[in-house]
């Protein structure tokens, strides 16, 4: 039996690393075990093609908590966040819309499509900020158990109720509507032009297997505005050096507090005896014991892969089985010989320094979703693109560029089964390039290297079950006190000494770091 630790964390993704950093900071002896050769999980930078650093999966730092940046001193450990300047949406007819940080400029842009919408847009933003203010505190704490709150939980619920009541009645209704209406229906109340509604509606559907017209999708509209109220920290942006820089900075911080991190150390199983987790067993057979074992992989892998069904209460096992993944997205990373030029705004310009959305209309987006329902990838998918090399010269040789393309929809359950994805990988990549080439001709000529990741690849390479980038769908029935399942939303599990700390717990996915931080704090508070 090797040296024993206070906590062993399975998975070196950004949440696992965050958890490790907080525990080590509190003086615990922590070990992180990562299967791959590189840290970060899906928040990772890899030089897949020499000279070009891809943010392989996650490509934008979204809502990384300001508290984490401060408390772990991430800037001292090398994290530099470059804000996303704008949102560029080109349209098939040659027109385009850019939404800038400056309100007046954005108003001018939108006015070309609809003067009414131009006036309404800042008001919408203000209304969303008021609602986001209500939601924000929820992210940073474990959810109160609405089923069995206990005194502490009741207080939390009361506080939540009070802050809800402090909202204007109009805002309260909007809050409820956000959870029941579709993104399009919600936006229809404010805006009339498709050009504005389409990119707004879809930006929140990222990673979710729903359409912009599906009920309950309106709340994801808040996501963007949550970043606004993080205020000075301006958490939406690129990390210099790629998204992996976030994970590296957190790992650095963790190490500086004394945590030990091992890569190429895949865990085969968690040793459970009499309902207690005692140690982890690596694939090379070695065993490491710890007082607590914390899983930073998704619930299915944790409970069915590492623990084993036989150690689980049948009801709990059923509930974990019901936790849905349903990957719906893919990724294409390109190394480019030159900057792409968009027909609607040719050449270089500030419009390329943010994110670029290929979302031609609401109908087109809905059609893209419809196709995926029946087991096909969208023939004209929604693309969310960034060219980080435009603001970050460290990730590509001078004059050359990296393009990160997020693709939706690519259903894990392909008609021929998920394992048929490899056969279609190149065809899928071609669809993406063809779609994009309609807006920036000449793109394919400039491609030096192409990496295509299907949901199958996300699962096989990065451990994301069914290719779901959030460790589980971010749908209402799997959020908040129901994530991953009712009664177990506070980072503990029914297996004694086994905890969870990644996106499969509250508040869910994205490069936030909250699950990791919340889990560490819950564990420390529990004094175990």
């Amino acid at each position: 039996m090797a040296v024993s630790y206070d906590q062993v964390i399975i998975g070196g993704g950004h949440n696992g690393l965050t958890c490790a950093a907080y525990l080590a900071r509190a003086g615990r002896k922590v070990l992180v075990l990562e299967a791959r050769h590189v840290l970060g999980g899906a928040a990772v930078t890899e030089e897949v093609f020499p000279g070009f650093k891809y943010s392989v999966c996650s490509y934008v730092v979204s809502l990384l908590r300001p508290e984490i940046i401060r408390e772990l001193e991430l800037t001292r450990h090398g994290l530099e966040l470059i804000p996303l300047e704008c949102s560029f949406s080109p349209y098939p007819d040659g027109s385009s819309l850019v939404r800038w940080p400056d309100r007046e400029q954005t108003r001018r842009e939108i006015a070309h499509f609809s003067p009414r919408d131009a006036e309404a847009y800042p008001l919408f933003g203000d209304a969303m900020i008021r609602l986001a203010r209500f939601v924000r505190p929820i992210l940073d704490k474990p959810p109160p158990d609405a089923i069995d709150p206990g005194l502490g939980g009741l207080l939390d619920l009361l506080k939540l109720g009070r802050s809800f009541r402090r909202l204007d009645p109009v805002d309260r209704l909007r809050k409820i509507q956000m959870f029941t209406m579709s993104a399009v229906d919600f936006l229809d109340r404010w805006f009339e032009s498709d050009a504005l509604k389409a990119p707004m509606a879809v930006s929140g559907i990222i990673g979710t297997f729903l359409g912009v017209r599906s009920p309950g999708t309106a709340y994801v509209l808040l996501h963007h505005y949550m970043g606004e109220i993080d205020g000075a920290s301006r958490s939406w942006g690129f990390a210099r050096g790629g998204t992996g820089a976030v994970s590296c900075a957190i790992a650095d911080a963790a190490r500086s507090f004394g945590a030990e991190i091992r890569t190429e150390a895949p865990v085969a199983r968690i040793d459970v005896r009499n309902g207690e987790a005692r140690s982890v067993v690596l694939e090379d057979g070695s065993e490491i014991s710890a007082r607590q074992i914390i899983s930073a992989v998704d619930p299915r892998r944790t409970f069915f892969g590492l623990v084993g069904r036989e150690h689980l209460d049948p009801d709990f096992a059923t509930s974990i089985e019901r936790f849905k993944y349903r990957g719906s997205s893919g990724k294409v990373n390109l190394a480019l010989d030159r900057l792409p030029s968009f027909t609607s705004r040719p050449g270089d310009g500030p419009h390329l320094r943010g994110d670029i959305a290929i979302a031609p209309s609401i109908d087109a987006l809905e059609l893209a979703y419809d196709e995926a329902k029946y087991g096909r990838w969208s023939s004209r998918p929604y693309l969310n693109i960034v060219i980080p090399s435009v603001v970050d010269p460290t990730i590509a040789p001078p004059g050359k560029h990296v393009m990160s393309i997020f693709v939706q929809y690519a259903p894990y359950q392909l008609e021929g089964g998920p394992e048929s994805w490899p056969q279609h990988r190149e065809a899928f990549g071609d669809t993406v390039i063809e779609t994009l080439e309609e807006y920036c001709p000449g793109l394919s000529d400039s491609i030096l290297h192409r990496q295509v990741l299907t949901p199958w690849d996300l699962e096989q390479e990065f451990g994301l079950t069914e290719g779901n980038i959030f460790h589980g769908e971010l749908s209402l029935e799997q959020l908040f006190f129901l994530r991953p399942t009712a009664g177990w939303a506070n980072y503990r599990t029914p297996v004694k000494n086994l905890w969870m700390c990644a996106s499969g717990t509250h508040p869910g996915g994205g490069v936030m770091g909250s699950p990791g931080r919340n889990a560490a704090r819950a564990l420390l508070k529990a004094r175990v």
Binding site: I147, P169, Q177, M181, K324, K373, L476
Partner: protein, 480 residues
Amino acid sequence: MTQERTDLLVVGGGIDALAAATIVARAGRSVRLICSEASLGEIDASWEFHPGYRSAGLRCLSAPRPAVVAKLRLEDFGYRSRIAPTTEESRPMSDALLDEMAPIIATIQEFADGAPRELIDPSFLELLRLGGMLHRTRRAIGKTAFADALRVLPMSIEDWLSERFDEPRQRAQLAALSLFGGWVGPLSPSTAFLWLLAHAGGTEEPAGGGPALVSALEGAAREAGVTIETSTTVDGWILEQGRVVGASTDGGELRAKQLLSTAHPSITLLERLGAQEVPAALREDLGAYRSRGIVAVMHIALDCPVEGPEQRWIGDSPLDWERAFDAAKHGTIPERPCLRLRVASADDPSIAPEGCSVLKLQVFAVSVVGPDEADRQRETLEARVLEQLAKVDENWPGAVVASELITPTDLEHHHHLPGGHLEHGELALDQIFSLRPCVGIGNYRTPVPGLWIAGAGTHPGGPFPGSSGVLAADQILADG
């Protein structure tokens, strides 16, 4: 026109209008009810769509809530209920689910039976009551089941059923009922809630369907002394000093102390009022009230008897229903429309000649189209529906004597239903109970003094015929 002072003028000839008129009249007020059609019942009326063959109303109604039946004394006027026909195949599974979800369904029924509760701006007392209700439910069913129930509410019906039933055909049979009220397909989130809502209507229906219920209500209304005038078209409301004092009709002015309208909320508050009479915010909210109808109704006269189950769902798998919804979503006609099939003549043999039958179909899913496309849509749709029917019984297409298809476009143009929705608006989590049709029209009272609103487009919304009318009547009477 008469100079008598009517206490309440009820504008509308449907179930809620009759129910409200009856309650108010029985309390001793003078009530006059007017409607534009020649006979009462609106879309629940029966009419002869072909010589010898009558329709059975456009909706498939659930039985009114027991409290409503009792309060109106409907059984004294010939109303009888019967067990609603179900598909035998799905019965056991349906029963199991209903058992499990019984407390949630009971909660929904409790909401429907009571006056609209303030959900957005509840007073402390109301919050306590709400909390108490949730607490009681949790105690009754235990933590796990309670958590599960909360979990289920936002889910899609397909996801929920997939957790228990592997067979797509089974799931399609079970899921179908949830799809006829909203703008949804089986993969849409919140359809699990719509399923629960649909089942909160109970297992019974009026014997003789909508027409029989209308007939009983008419009897009750007349006995209570309600003056009923049909074939009277309303242009607008008459306002004096900001107060509604009557309606202007094609027959002149009709004045009353109060006015209750059971039309679609947009008609009641937008079409029949000047824009300045309604606050802009309310006008916008009403504009955002979604009423996209996707159900068409077809009555078919067959010159042969029909064997077999009285109700059938035609749509083999959830994806078939989803495809049909997709078509309507994009404004096209589904290749294979899905159907709710009722042998209406089995319930009421008098609607067809001896040895003949009337089939009543609710067709899913059909979108509203422009008037120039309406005829083409109807033709294509009829043909495709008959193709579907042929798969059920190959003899049927040959036995068709006549048919009448009413699409959402027809509902919009000929039946005063903006959007073409049979329930005066989509059933959805943000358009149900006191949120229906929008905030600001609580307790059936509009911002315009003297003008009340009730009907399918108000609380509670869902399979509760007459509840709105009865609750509105209570409010009108309580108002003095």
